[in-house]
């Protein structure tokens, strides 16, 4: 599971380095997210720009991570590719996440609403 995290402008930015977030990797994704978010902190930005495919297991894992961080920390998303964005739209889960076009916009959004 290729996942890296960095602190950036008060946010924890987590880059998903996998082309697929699917049933084969959903469990490991949740475990790695738990590890990289173990230290307390502010908002968590999940950069999904490298993810070309997301299935319902991957979506469920992202939701599970959001729930595990709540209520103290928000999980926000950025860089959704077209196939990934489609899954969020079809399931209407785009209505429960803050979703930014890219990392710069996500960081900008954090400044605006901080």
């Amino acid at each position: 599971m290729n996942l890296s995290a960095e602190a950036c402008e008060g946010a924890l930015v987590v880059h998903v380095g996998e082309a697929r977030l699917d049933a084969a990797i959903a469990l490991r994704f949740k475990e790695r997210m738990r590890e990289v978010t173990a230290q307390p902190g502010g908002r968590v930005l999940l950069n999904m720009s490298k993810v070309e495919f997301l299935d319902s297991s991957g979506l469920g894992a992202v939701v599970a991570v959001m729930k595990s961080l709540a209520p103290n920390r928000r999980l926000e998303l950025c860089g959704l590719t077209s196939n990934v964005d489609k899954v969020f739209r079809l399931t209407r889960m785009d209505s429960v996440f803050a979703i930014y076009p890219d990392l710069a916009a996500a960081l900008e959004g954090g400044r605006k609403y901080a």
């Binding site: 699917d22 299935d55 319902s56 894992a61 939701v63 729930k67």
Partner: protein
């Protein structure tokens, strides 16, 4: 007996020469084997689909096949899944079979058009999206169980070659 990993039958019918028509693949019931099956199936038909259609095909197949791995075979890693896809004038006709437990009633659900079977986003569901996506994206979805074997069939409409619209 498991069939060869990727057998390609001779093409026939009214499709232009060189246009892929049939995909047939049997593989072990594991999530990694599903990944390989998706890659092979997409590679087979990628030339006759738009990017959007390819994304939809991959999503439907992933949901159907992973559902079999996780539920029909209960993540045992034992058993096989057989996927067949035939291209005809209206799109892709897909059939999937396995020898696991029966599909629970209700999975095929109500008509997707009424939309009421979508898990409620506000409840932050971690599951239940798989069958919703299948019902939403596939057409002519049908299930049949016979002699301990599950048979699921569905269609994915795709625009005919040469009549592609960009939308």
């Amino acid at each position: 007996m498991p069939e060869p990993a990727l057998s390609q039958r001779p093409m026939h019918g009214e499709a232009p020469p060189g246009e892929p028509r049939i995909f047939h693949h049997s593989f072990p019931a594991t999530a990694m084997a599903v990944r390989d099956a998706l890659r092979s199936a997409l590679a087979r038909f990628i030339r006759v689909m738009t990017e959007e259609e390819a994304g939809t095909l991959e999503l439907i197949l992933a949901e159907v096949l992973n559902n079999i791995v996780e539920h029909s075979y209960r993540d045992s890693g034992k058993g096989h899944v057989t996927l067949s896809i035939v291209r005809d004038g209206r799109g892709l006709s897909c059939s999937v079979s396995d020898d696991g437990i029966a599909l629970p009633p209700g999975c095929l659900g109500p008509e997707p058009s009424n939309g009421s079977d979508r898990p409620d986003p506000e409840s932050l569901p971690e599951g239940g999206f798989g069958w919703f996506l299948i019902r939403d994206l596939a057409t002519d979805l049908g299930y049949h169980r016979e002699d301990g074997r599950n048979l699921l069939a569905f269609r994915l409409p795709i625009a005919p070659l040469g009549e592609r619209r960009t939308n």
